[in-house]
């Protein structure tokens, strides 16, 4: 089977069912939006490798917008209590809005999870905190939606 071309094929390509896998779809207009495709694939593979984090995925409910300023690219993830749809650009009213450079986004995916919580006291964690304090990483909604941020960090963390 080749690359998905139609909307139905695109949905089929990323929708999973059974086997403890999660339901992740790409919006049909995602096209070549690298970051959106990468994030969807990374979360799907990550949760397959770490099924204990599916409960965090299931608790997420709402829009999360992410932009990589240096790459001039943005995406929105719509979590809906056990499913995820990934859109290019900004969609809806995001509860979390993350703005940083592409390299820092991958740092976020490298945050350690210890005792079920993101760990900010190692090298990567300290670097992320430093960027947050310096304004190089902006997370709008991090206080109002603190739990959602924790769940999302666990979902995207490859550690």
């Amino acid at each position: 089977m080749g690359e998905p071309e139609t909307e139905a094929e695109m949905e089929q390509a990323t929708t999973t069912g059974g086997n403890g896998e999660v339901d992740i779809t790409l919006a049909p207009d995602v096209g070549d939006a690298g970051m959106a495709v990468m994030m969807a694939e990374m979360i799907r593979t990550n949760l397959k490798d770490k099924p204990d984090r599916v409960k965090d995925f299931n608790k997420l409910d709402g829009y999360v917008w992410i932009t990589a300023d240096d790459a001039d690219t943005e995406m929105t993830m719509l979590f809906d209590g056990g499913s995820l749809k990934v859109y290019p650009g900004k969609v809806g009213y995001p509860m979390l809005q993350i703005s940083t450079d592409s390299s820092t986004l991958l740092d976020l995916a490298n945050i350690q999870i210890r005792f079920g919580l993101p760990y900010y006291f190692d090298e990567v964690g300290r670097m992320v905190l430093k960027k947050l304090l310096k304004g190089e990483l902006k997370i709008k909604g991090m206080f109002a939606h603190n739990l959602a941020l924790t769940h999302m960090t666990k979902v995207i963390s490859v550690k």
Binding site: D32, D70, D72, T73, N110
Partner: protein, 194 residues
Amino acid sequence: MTLQYGTDEWEQEYQAVVAEKSKSPPPYIYFTPEWVALFEKAIRMDEIYKEAAKDWEGSVVLHVEPDPERGLEFDLYVFMDLWHGECRSVRIVPESAGLAGDFIISGSLDRWTQVGKRELDAVKGMMQGKLKLKGDLPTIVRAVRAAQRLTDISAEVGGKFPPDLPSDEIPEFRHINNELAERFLGIKAATPAV
């Protein structure tokens, strides 16, 4: 005559070509065997890469899409056999071997040239969809510093970029590629090597 990849004969002949081409001093044209040999040497000597990749296991393949007008008539695969910070080998390999790599980063000759000139960061390129990555994403995200360092090294090696070649040098570049394709990659070039 096409040599069988993976045999001692293939490796000996490949090394002979590298030795012959390396008699001329650098800069070499990107993605030629002599340039790839310099790249291999640079990875092996790079302490930053060794540290960043100390947990890395698996092969990384740089895939260059064809660009016939610039002298590259086939998909080119640069296969890097990497293991815990060690660079076992870097070779231009046949498609079947390239596609069997653990991680494949694909891009056009123009994109790779941008990476080589440091006009495009590889991670940024992937985020923008300018470079495509195939392989287990969580694994490569865990090793993102090592992956970035590899592309930095490719830029540090330097060389001549195929898109920048003057038009009178393109036939020579095409000839080099087609000779490589027929001898080592099992590809019958559209434009004969000789």
